[in-house]
Each structure stands twice: as C-alpha cells, then as structure tokens.
Amino acid sequence: MRAYLLELYVPRSDADAVEDGAERARRAAEELTAEGTPVRYIRSVFVPEDETCFCLYEAAAIEDVRAAAERAGLPDGRIAEAVTAPTAPTATHEKERARRS
C-alpha cells in the first residue's frame, strides 16, 4: 500500500464542505474496501489561504484513489504519490509497544 495525496479546490467561504467531504471520503473508502478494492482514507488538511484541501489516502494504486474520490462525490482534483513519515508515538502507542515487547 502506498500513500496518495488528493488535492481539491475548496473555496475559502465553504469551510464546512471540508468536514462533509471528509465524512463522505471515509465512507466511500470503506465501501470500496468491502467491495474488494482496499482503499483507506486517513485524514484531510484544509489550507484556506490556498483554497486547497489535501486528502491523504492509502491504496494499492492511484486509480483506486481516483475511484474512491469519485464514489465520495469529490470534485475532480489532482492526485499525487506521497510519502508519509511515521506519526509521533502517542501514549496509547507507547503502552501497546510496551505490552507487546
């Protein structure tokens, strides 16, 4: 699985759309996964100044992300490969690791 960044145009005045879109993205990814195309929606980051919203996905191929975006009814956007650094360990993580090891 690779990481992909979907870049969407969202007008500044439309900040509510981001949450809606995120919800739809999550659900669409779950649907697709259930149907046999594993896609995972991770999170969205909205930059109002650029009127751009970045949606982070994990999938096997770029077409899967495109399909998920379409299913979610998200407007046409640019999709690029991304590389994510591991997230900072949270307290839960630490406990898990401690328990496992």
């Binding site: 870049e7 145009y9 969202v10 007008p11 500044r12 005045s13 439309d14 930059v47 100044e49 650029d50 009127e51 751009t52 046409d76 640019r78 690029a80």
Partner: protein, 918 residues
Amino acid sequence: MPVTLSEAEPRAIGREAELARITTFLGRARVGALVIAGAPGIGKTTIWEAGLGAARSAGWRVLATRPAESEWQLPFTALTDLLAEIDIGEFQDVPAPQRDALEIVLYRAEPEATPPELSAASVGLARLLRLLGARQPLLVAVDDVAWMDRPSLGTLAFAARRLGDGPIRFLLTRRAGEQSELERALAQIRVEQLELDGLTLGAIRVLLAERLGLNLSRRLLRRLHEAVGGNPLLALELGRHAPALGDEHDEVSLSALAGAEDLFGDRVAALTPPMRRTLLAAALSPDLAEVELAALAGSGVEAALASGLLVAAGQRVRVSHPLLAAAVRGRSSSEERRALHLELARSVSDPRRRLHHAALGSRGPDAELAAELADAAAASLARGALHDAIELAQHALRLTPPDDAALPERLLSTAELLVAAGELRAVTGLLAPRIHKLPAGRPRARAHLLLGEAATFDAHERHLELALGEAAGEPDLVTAALSAKAVLLALNRVEEIERAEALARSALAAAHDAASPAAEAQALHALVWARILRGRTFDAVATGGYDEAAAASLYVGAVERPLAVQRAWRGQIAESRVLLGRLLQVAEERGEARSCLVLHLHCCELELRAGDLRAAAASLEAWEGWTADEAPADVDTIRSRCRALIAAVRGRPDEVAYWADAADAANAASGFVWDRLDVLRARGIAALQTAQLPRATAYLQRVWEHTSHAGIRDPGAFPVGGDLAEALIALGKPHDASTVVGWLRALAEEQRHPWGLATTRRCDALLALAEHPDETGVACLEAVASEYSDLGLHFEAARTLLAAGRAARRQRRWAVARALLERAAVAFDELDADGWVGVARANVGRRESPRRGGLTDAEHRVAGLAADGLSNKEIAAHLMISVSTVETHLKRIYAKLGVGSRTQLARRLTSGEGSTSG
C-alpha cells in the same frame, strides 16, 4: 425578492465571496452603488456579468454598457447603449424640452438650429431614470467606467447627482486608481468598493486545469501563481504561452516569461503579420462591425475569433482584452496605424466614424477633408456633443492648408468652441500667436472678444478696446464688446455705473442696427443691471420691445432676473421670492445649467436679507449642485462670501472671520469686487455684534464710500447705510451719522424704496434717542421693527427690537427693556440666529436689579447650560473655563436665585416670572 446567482452562470472560479457580495448588494436597500475595482485581467468583467445575470433573474431592469478602450469614441455611444432598449413610449412622461434634448443626443432625432442645452439632456436622463426606477428596480451597469465617452460620462454623472433615494442601483467596474467623475457624483447615494485581489493558488490550479487542461506540479504552480500575483488572465496567458510547462526543468523559462507586461507583447510578436494587422484594426476602431473588419482582413477575422484573440459581441468585434489591444497598439508603428486608419475609413460604413478615421489617417494638409471635418464639427455641436465638436474642429484646423481662405473662420470657430467648453487657456494658446495673421476688421475683432473672455479683468478690458477698434461697421460685434464692457464695469469691478449705463445704451443702439435679437438681448441684459444699480426702474416697452421667446437663455436674456433681484434690494421680499421661484422652475425644466446656478445664488442672497437661514443654506446647497463646470476660483469666492454672510446673520463672529478670510484668499484669483464688498459687509455686521465699533465703522464705511463713488444709487444693493449709522451713533459721532442718513433718506424717497424708507426711520429714531433718550424714540423703533416684519425682513426687525431694548435699558426702564429684548431673542431664535439670541439675552441679564435674580453675564451662561442638563465638566468644556470656576458660579447662582438643585434651577429659569432667560 431574494437575489440568487443562477446555476447557469459560467462559474467564476475562486470568486465565491465576491459573488456573495454582489447578491447582498442587490438585495440590500442601503447601498446605491457598487464599484468593482482591480488590476486589468483580475476578473472584474466576470463578476460584473454575473451581477447582471443575477439582477435580471430577480426581475430587475438592467441598463448596461461596456465601453471599449480606444483613443476616440463617437459621442454619447455609452449613453445610447444604456438606453438602447428603451422605446419612445417610456419617454412620454419626461417634460418636452428635456425629452427633445435627450432624443437629439441619442441620435433619435435631428438637431435644430441651436444646439440643445447639454444639461437639458442630463436633467431629462435623471427624470427618465427615476421614472423607470418607479416601475421596476433598475440597475445601471458600466464595465470599465474609464473608457466611457466623455459626454456620456458627464450626462450620467449629472443625472446620478440628482437621483436621490430610490430603487436605482449602479454596478461599475474600473481599474485600480482614481475615482471617476461618476463615482464622485454617486457619493451621495452610498458607494461601496469591491476590491478584487488575485486568486488563490488552489483557484489558479483549477482555472488552468479547466480552461487549458494544464496539470502543473505544485512547485511550478506556486512559481506561476507568484509570478502573476494570482491574476487569472495573466495566469492563463502564461499557461497558454508555454505548453511544455509540464516539465519541471522548464522553471527557468517560466521566470523569464513572467514579466507580466511583456506577456501579451510576446504573443503579439508571435502572430503572423496579417493576424496582427487584423487585431490592430480592431484595436483602432471602437465598435467595429464584423463585416467591416472582414472587408479589410478577409478570412483573418474568423481565424482571430477562433483563436480567441477577438470576441464577437452581437454584430461587432472587439479585441478580447484591453491589455491585448494595448499590446497590439504599442507594437505598431505610427505609419502602420496611419495606413490602417485610411483603410478603415474606406471600409467603415458610418459616415462619422469614416471621417474620424480619415482624419487620423491623413498626413498633410487636405482642404477637402478639412472642410468635411469642419462640417462634422458643426453637426456634432448641433447634437450638443461639445467635446467631440472640438476634437473634429481641431483636426479640421490641422488639415487646413495655410493659404486656405477658410482658415480664419475655422480658427475662430474652434476658439468659440473652446470658450464654450471653458478651456480658456487653450483659447489663449490657440489665438494669441495667430491673431496678427488674421485679416483686419471682423475676424480680428472676434479674436479679441474671445481672447478677452479667456483673460483676467485688465487684459479683458484691453481686448475689448482692441475689438472695438477693429469692429467698425460690424454692429453685432460692437454690441458684444460694449455689453461686455458694461457688465465688467458694473457687476465685476462695481465702478462707474453711470458710464456702464451709457455703454449699455450704445450697445443697444448698435444691436438695433444689427437687427439681431440675440445682440439685443445681450445689450438689454447689461442695460438693466446698470439701471437697477442706478436705482431706476426698467420699462421694457419704453426701450422698444423685449421678446422673451427670442431670448436664447434665461441667463442672459431674461429681464425678469435682474428685476427680481432689484425687488430683493428694495426689501420686497415676497415678490422677489415669487419671481425667482418662477424663473427657477423654467430654468430647471429647460435644463439651463448657468441659469439654475445663478438663480439659486440669487435665492440665497434673498433669504439672507429676509434672515431665513435655513432657506439660505438650502439655496446655497442647491447652487453647489450646479457648480461642477465652473472655474474653481470663482466658485470658492462666491461660496465663501455666502457662508460669511450666513455666519454674520447667524451671529458667529469666528465663523465670519474664517469664511471672510477664505473669500479674500479666493478673491485674489477671481478679482470680483462685488464679493469683496459683500465680505466687508459681513465683517462689519460681525464687528457690530461684538461691539467693536471702530472696526465695524471702518468696514462699513469702505463699502459705503466705494458704492457712492461708483454711482450706485440703490441703497439696498449693498445695504450698509443703516448699520453704518448705528455704528457711528454708538461711537458718539452723530454728526457723521446724520450725513449718512441724509443721503440714505434722499435716495429712499427718490426711489420710494421700502427698505430704504424703513431704515431711514430707524436711523432717525436712533439719532433722536442719542439726543433725547425718551419713550418716543423707543416706540419709533418698535414701529420700524413692525414695518420690517411686514416687508419680510425679519433679521432687520429683530435687530431693531434689540436696539429698542438697549435704548430702553439705558433709560433704566427695565420692564420695557426686558420685554423688547425678549422679543428680539425670540425673533432671532426663529431665524436660527443663535449668536444674536445670545446677544439679546446677555443684554437682558445685565444690570438686573438684585431682587430679580441679578445674575452676571458669566453666571447667566453657566445657569443656562446647567438648566439644560449639562454636567459641570461639560459646562467647563463648553465655556472653556475650569471646573472649579463652574462650581463657584453655581454656588452663587443657587444663592442668588434661591434654589437648591439643578431641577429647581431649570424650573426657575423657565418660569418666566423674574426669569433671566426665556
């Protein structure tokens, strides 16, 4: 009805917030005009068009025009565009003279012999817009106000100033920078600005993707966005320019290309010569029809349209964006342009535009073309398009061969047009170097008359003399010169009125020789003014008939105007008001700007005599509305002079000083002695108010002496006689006062002058009181006050009551004094003359017997303010004293009046019995 943007509108990417503002603007009652401003290419037109769509969907009526950027426009093009869909039926309710003017201007009717008053068309437009707005909400929309042709802009601005509150809105776009005249005119109905900034990175990305299918890397996108500052047009241009931009290594070329000004230039340079020529032709000719361009460029037109360089708008074509047009023009040589103008002259169908192209395409002198241009100038003038006429006339002049017989006439008519437009420096520049080349006699006389109008006083008089020298045997010119001399003398210099009258008589004789009604009107105008200054009546019948219908305009021709002013001088206030009101109505209906201007001024002066300050201020404001086209120095002088007099009647010496100084400063440029005298009058009244008697006498004496010396015999023209006598008596110079009164009496009796007679009686009473202070004198003054009141001269009445009260007080007849002073205070109060109210009340306060309260002036002031509810701190601030002083005063006040609180104080003061105020 809520206004929304329809779904069908082409999506304005990245402009959601701005579009929301448009819908708010259309839905909200308060704001009258929205101006969309921003750099070229930023997307103003897109928003503007969305606004139009939204308005139409919401049931508004939309009048729109999109002036094209070009060096020249046919006059009134924009206005014609705006009113294109309005048919004859809707004009019906506009009064006839205004409607006719409007129809001529819109090319729907042929002009008559005399050009319509431009302001008539403007007034008509205002009326029409109000009528339309009453039936349906109205939106007047202009895209790129800066390129509106000048006559349209002037007319629309004029109308905009007169629309008031109503369902008429304006939606304008303009480049960033200076406000246009239209916006200034709209300032009264609340203008909001919508500044368009660049699009965001995200929006630019979408724009490039949707329009050009470009899918740039983030890095490249960032660079591009930065390079164009978010400007959508430039972003598209840059995107279009470099199709290989998908490659990251092309960053270098991106920066090189991003010098925004060159963007279009490079595109132009990359065009084929035939394509460039096609574009240039469109750029040089506003409102070019597609067929006309095709005649020049053949199939190139289709190619240009296909590539988006040209856009079609109905049957016309225009360059797709002004920046592109500017680039095309900028990269052409003047030879190329000249050659194209000649070709355009051949292919364009409208004769006016054809002529214009021919003029721009011509190289050297061309007698035939010059003659055509001269005729076109006359035709344009007949339509009321003064500035277009000037431009055509200047072309005609330029192309007239130096030895052509028509040259002198063309020179003079161009100068006449420039005078009419108020471009006086241009007149001097045009005629002064060429006057000696003109043939002697009539042409040179005309030249001198024109140069005179453009010059200062002294130079004007010299030119008039020279004109008379050349004008022998040309009675109409003699009339013009003599009339001008007479008016200069009487109304501007205010000197030698008798000579002015003689000059005017000679002018009239010459006018009869010329058998010209226009000349006669000119001479009569000068004569009437001179006569009324001499204190004589004017009998139209006796001077051999005056035909009002023949008078070209009320400004010059109507004899009623000076006669109405004379009534005001004589103190016949009601009659004067009626006459002026009637004249004003006619002038407004005819849309005569000059006449409305001067009539409002006369009304202000009249109301100042009556003492009705509110009416005077209202008239002055109305006067301001017509001053747009006048020379600023003249406007400043008159405005300041009127404000000084208003302040004097109001009783505010500081304001008088302020405005009087301003008037004198402005007067340095304009030189009108009339205003200088009125300013002295204002200063004199202010000095009288503050009891600065030597100063008051000095000011008033100057006016008195100047006017006597000049031969002005109507004592009401500059009504200082009464005040001067009063000042002299108060100074203890009854003998000097008697001289003044003697002269005043003689004039008043000779002319049966109501104001003069009343004032003489007032002065007599004051003189008698100076000798024998007794009841009779006071009773006389009371009677004179009634006389003034009956005439409508309420300010004089109040001042006479004040004098009576003071006289009674000097005789220690307290009750009578208080009653009279109270009446004076009430009378001043009704006029809003608060400064004088203070004077009257202060006089009441003085020398009150202690049993009756006995507050000093200072205590009285403090008591009044305290009773009005002001805190000690506020009183201190108001009177510019310390708070502790206020407290001390209040302690004493309470003690003297026997009260213990502010409430009791207020009750005591308003109770009337033993009150120190009213």
